[in-house]
Symmetry: C3
Subunit: 362 residues, 3 copies
Amino acid sequence: MTTLKPNAKTFPLNAWYAAAWDHEIQQALFPRTIAGKKIVLFRRKDGQVAALEDACWHRLVPLSKGHLKDDEVTCGYHGLKYNSHGRCTHMPSQETINPSAGVRTFPTHEQHRFVWVWTGDPALADPAKIPDLHWNHDPNWAGDGKVIHVKCDYRLVLDNLMDLTHETFVHSTTIGDDAVAESPFDVHHGEKTATVTRWMRDIVPPPFWGAQLGKPGRVDRWQIIRFEAPCTISIDVGVAPTGTGAPDGDRSQGVNGFVLNTVTPETETTCHYFWAFVRNYKLGEQLLTTKLREGVASIFREDELILEAQQQAIAENPDHVFYNLNIDAGAMWSRRIIDKMIAAETPPSHAAALGSRTAAAQ
Amino acid sequence: MTTLKPNAKTFPLNAWYAAAWDHEIQQALFPRTIAGKKIVLFRRKDGQVAALEDACWHRLVPLSKGHLKDDEVTCGYHGLKYNSHGRCTHMPSQETINPSAGVRTFPTHEQHRFVWVWTGDPALADPAKIPDLHWNHDPNWAGDGKVIHVKCDYRLVLDNLMDLTHETFVHSTTIGDDAVAESPFDVHHGEKTATVTRWMRDIVPPPFWGAQLGKPGRVDRWQIIRFEAPCTISIDVGVAPTGTGAPDGDRSQGVNGFVLNTVTPETETTCHYFWAFVRNYKLGEQLLTTKLREGVASIFREDELILEAQQQAIAENPDHVFYNLNIDAGAMWSRRIIDKMIAAETPPSHAAALGSRTAAAQ
Amino acid sequence: MTTLKPNAKTFPLNAWYAAAWDHEIQQALFPRTIAGKKIVLFRRKDGQVAALEDACWHRLVPLSKGHLKDDEVTCGYHGLKYNSHGRCTHMPSQETINPSAGVRTFPTHEQHRFVWVWTGDPALADPAKIPDLHWNHDPNWAGDGKVIHVKCDYRLVLDNLMDLTHETFVHSTTIGDDAVAESPFDVHHGEKTATVTRWMRDIVPPPFWGAQLGKPGRVDRWQIIRFEAPCTISIDVGVAPTGTGAPDGDRSQGVNGFVLNTVTPETETTCHYFWAFVRNYKLGEQLLTTKLREGVASIFREDELILEAQQQAIAENPDHVFYNLNIDAGAMWSRRIIDKMIAAETPPSHAAALGSRTAAAQ
């Protein structure tokens, strides 16, 4: 397993990162740090989202402390103005404007209810590369989510999601039961994806899923975890009455949800974790949407405590070599794909410093 | 413009720095860090101010945690005593006192309602070099001020004061108006001083100055900013009815104030900012003195927010090269004079590391 | 005197350190950092105390955030289980357990109402080396104590205790009087111990001791400070009416107490300070036990302020060379013995870096 070596790069820059939920970006200055870049976002009058470097060209004062008017940002210190393309359009007491005067902008795209920002080479910013979270705005699915700030390397959140064994231990009072930790699973991977599939057949459903299904009796339960590089994971979850054919593809008698996750690195050791839970049943029940959202939120708070403790322990043991278990197979693939993306951006002279420290468990 | 390179020296030591308002120093131990030196100040029975290194010769415990009696400081740990010249006069259980036993003292001088401390070579500590803030104790002027602790390099406060263009943007609801940012200005400099002069002729006075003048009609407004190295700035401000001759030297029909500022570096990234506002009208109105002091205090809180955000941004971008605009001309001169003072104190081998990163704006 | 050089080792590992008061360790997970090691302690069903490294073998999550059941610790993340010998006994979804899977354990021993942990080579962990604090559980003595967390190198606490001169200055309103600072003292040392003996003959007792004795008149007062390496100090204190023979060995007319101290390094700059005050009179009076414990606690808070200020000053002056006075003789011996213990554990190549910076006072 790749270690969290201090100073080693932990995320690629040539990637679309979720910067905000769509509703977070209004016609107002909104600062957020994405992949180490301080960015100020705002919605233009035409509805497009602009993303500028959050530092005035002149004296570095954060532009987010200034004012927005008519799609232009005025720095709150000396009044330099920038348009939504980052070009300086006004300087105080200056007849001509330095042609170089401006701040960097970042490509943005709104999709799946999120505002995405591309932090790398703008020429490569193809919206087709935005990870698939379409369930989040598909009329056949209903649900909602949040964004939480977690004080850990975003990859620790991915590790957590790629192995749901932890449900049994971290979430023993809610969604976890022994079946998850005991059931076998398969792992597949592509160039940019890794998938962990676990079927728990003919089990007593855990309380949450029993209530969603609304029928008594044993069930087949599934968890299909799909990682899309560098930091998006959709988890296809659900139960169907045993014998109704779900494992063979007929889920018509069951209930199905998706846990949608995209974990944006803020710094090397902190992240913005965007998530939603959507379902394909009782679509119009807003009360259920709210209950599920708040329920998932309290489950994720349990993960947060563990993840922040783990981050702290890793920081205190920078040379620790990790052993991997079978349950880590999914996370190992996602880490490898991320490492490859980072290596592709790293000049050869630096690449040598980015070694992995791995040891295989028996 | 000189950058705030970490580890580069940012202030000279051979300078008089304001350590306290006169009323702050009583017959009691008063700790304050001045230009990186931890100092304990106290007023002797004869009224003179003593300034000792705030660390016991024996075990470094701050003397300011001890006791003052009869002009002697007793360390609060083992009871070593020091007189106001820093000489150890008593040690517990010790028959003779080590001749080297003592702590460093700093020259002090009380002037213009401030206690000044010289942090460099005591042989050079000539009170004639104390910067001119005489308005602060001149019977023809009345006013008051405060000291605030700002978490930024003291030079950022100086930059702020050397260019009042920022009034238009930072203080748009109080003293700022477009006239300041739009009016031309002149810059002059001497060996130890730099002056920025701005006249705004025939303008509608901003609300503050209209109220001070107490007459309707258009005015000529002036701002004459005078820097005296390394960290004192007096600003001659006022308005007079247009046509009464103020630009030509006859201010008799106007009102005049001085914003007095001396910004003492505490560390490389924090400072003690002493300021006062004094006026030459309605001298006996204590209510006006109080109102003006509190009004200026709330204006300076707006600057504080910007300056601390700027300091943080500079710390995060240590290699940033700053571009200078016309409005920075005054600040550039004050920086140059400070740099020269620092260079004069720096051994040649270190001087090479103290480069300036400057780029000129068109 | 040895300086607190950053990065120099400040404590030996081959030592018994008090990890907790006996009552602190129940059948529950109790985390505490001892000599730089993060440890989780718990009491087994058979009453023995187990001490395991507080980091899961798999992903470093602190085991203290998991669960204890039947003398086994389950990691709160992925459910790995460990027995009290640190051996992993269960892994999720894993048919065989990696033979290396386990966490380090530390020898423990319960004695004198404390739980002791050995942080070095387990082969050397002989309970006979536990420092002598037998008064703490001797039926002829009664008393109680506490543990406080102090933000300083544990050796600063030892310095403080080895020279009670400071009572006169730090504790002037409680136990201190001029007699302590003025009286002569003797210092003796062995291989692992150093003793400072001070008799104050024919003095007016300070208020505390006058009250304990319960008789008017002058007294002989003693303070016999005994250091036992690396961090335990017992102080034999008391008074007896002058002329009743206490200095010659007959304390039968007096009152006697012991201040028991053992100061466990947590990190290089923080410590757990365990202390108790026990007496050989009015053994059954619980009210007196409580009053004395709380009285001593408030005295130690005065020391805490001084020690933390001293630690900060030392950290800011890493190259400071300390001068020693006569009163430092006891502390110098304890420091030398500690230095020798550390040197014995240090490979020769590192030993050169561990110099002492000492200067003798006249």
